[in-house]
Amino acid sequence: MIFTVPMKPINVDGELQFAYSINTKKGQIIKREDWLEQSNLNNVEYYPSNDKITKSLNNYIMLKGKVKVTYTWEEADNITEADVTKFKNLCAEFNPEDIYANWEDGENSVSWTLEYPACINEWTERSLAWELKSKTASLEILEDGTEILCVLQDNFGWEFKNVDLKPQESIETNKNTNLCYLFFGDKCEISVPSLDVGEETFIYNAKQYEVKQLTSSKCFIKNTSDNPCKIVMLCKS
């Protein structure tokens, strides 16, 4: 494993470890050097009709900046052009950011570059859910100050959702599972309407990179920063 991106980890209630990057520089990289390195391999899920494509076991989410993601394989991986095409099609179907990505085919590799597009307008399942079962995969920082969130889980099975809010934009957010955590990519204001008849509203503030547990059934999140802001939700029944 190669990991040169400086990260600040937060252990949340002993359930999850959130880590956000600090002062990243162009050229820093996170790389798995072998598919077998990954944790939770016994939970890996293959795409129904293609065993060269799996559900991703990593949880990297770009918050700002520009990155390049590269999958590289060896002959033993037996990845064909048809597999790569299928993978690209899945990215186009399930990743809202894909239309902003620049794809590049290499010899035994495929990569894409992406500048944070802030294009996810409603709560959506995490992007990059599917990936190639290639020997190596890497994420390279292409721009100083790029921000990455990495979430590690002790117990497998957390669902990831995310949304991008423009400055002053709000979104209704519902708690659908027993455990629900919210990570705020920037400053936000959270309004929680009371269930009482008096219609009182409780206001909370979240700092940049703060994590809060959503215990109310519903809240409204407003981006109070001057930049687009990604909010990440982790939930589990």
């Binding site: 990991f3 252990n11 470890q17 077998l36 390195e37 944790s39 547990q213």
Partner: protein, 47 residues
């Protein structure tokens, strides 16, 4: 991991088994693919 220990164990690929081998000679080594159990728990605010 110290340079001396690094010579005894090849950390590439860094599989779970290799992590266990490293931790036998270097108890402070943390598996980068898993939450660090030594990290202090942070209580988060509820909303």
């Amino acid at each position: 991991m110290s340079e001396e220990n690094n010579k005894k164990i090849n950390p590439n690929p860094l599989t779970e088994e290799v992590v266990k081998e490293i931790q036998e000679v270097d108890k402070d080594f943390v598996d980068p693919y898993k939450p660090n159990p030594k990290l202090e728990k942070q209580k988060v605010g509820k909303i």
